[in-house]
Amino acid sequence: MSDIYNVKKKLETTVSNFISTEIEWIALNSANINEEKQETVIEFLESLEDDDDVQNVFSNVNFQNN
């Protein structure tokens, strides 16, 4: 927690437009899904995020940008 703050501080001196710092879960094995399923998956993730108790949702989905 405090390490990331020091890293961020150092980065800020060299990078001008800083957007965000976060500690995240990154999947080692990502899942590719086809386009028809993409909407179901987004609906699923949104239904999780909608909950008041939920802080963060991470998944291993590779979204195709289109």
């Binding site: 999947a27 179901t40 699923f44 108790d53 802080q55 991470f58 989905v61």
Partner: protein, 131 residues
């Protein structure tokens, strides 16, 4: 459509965006309140609070909201918040990690067991996805 006010057209979109915004704010302020409650009220002394405030700032949360969230931590002494992590599989076997912050883990747990598991797939406490 004649005689149609512009607002009628945008209110649906704006209503949705406002709702999402307030939802994000309430999540961020919850994290600030809990962080301030568990540690020092001074962000310089409390790394968790510091990163919570930074996250709130980068989401353009008003300063008033941040201060209110910190103040709230001294008022809510009877409530105990807990971090719980859920892991599970969603549609098409995608793996999902859900981090929750709750004052009543039984409520949260039953919510997952009932609503989400029924509709989408299995959700349990930590230990399914990460090995």
């Amino acid at each position: 459509m004649a005689g149609h006010s512009h607002w009628a057209g945008i209110k649906h979109k704006k209503g949705k965006a406002d709702k999402q915004r307030s939802k994000i704010f309430s999540k961020l302020s919850k994290e600030i309140t809990v962080a301030a409650k568990l540690g020092d009220k001074d962000p310089a002394m409390n790394p968790r609070l510091r990163s919570a405030i930074q996250a709130a700032r980068s989401a353009n949360m008003p300063k008033d909201n941040i201060e209110r969230a910190i103040d709230k931590s001294s008022a809510a002494t009877g409530v105990n918040f807990e971090n719980l992590r859920y892991e599970g599989f969603g549609p098409d076997k995608i793996a999902v990690i859900v981090e929750t912050l709750t004052d009543n883990k039984n409520r949260t747990a039953s919510k997952y067991q009932n609503n989400i598991s029924k509709k989408w797939g299995k959700f349990r406490h930590s230990g399914i996805c990460i090995t």
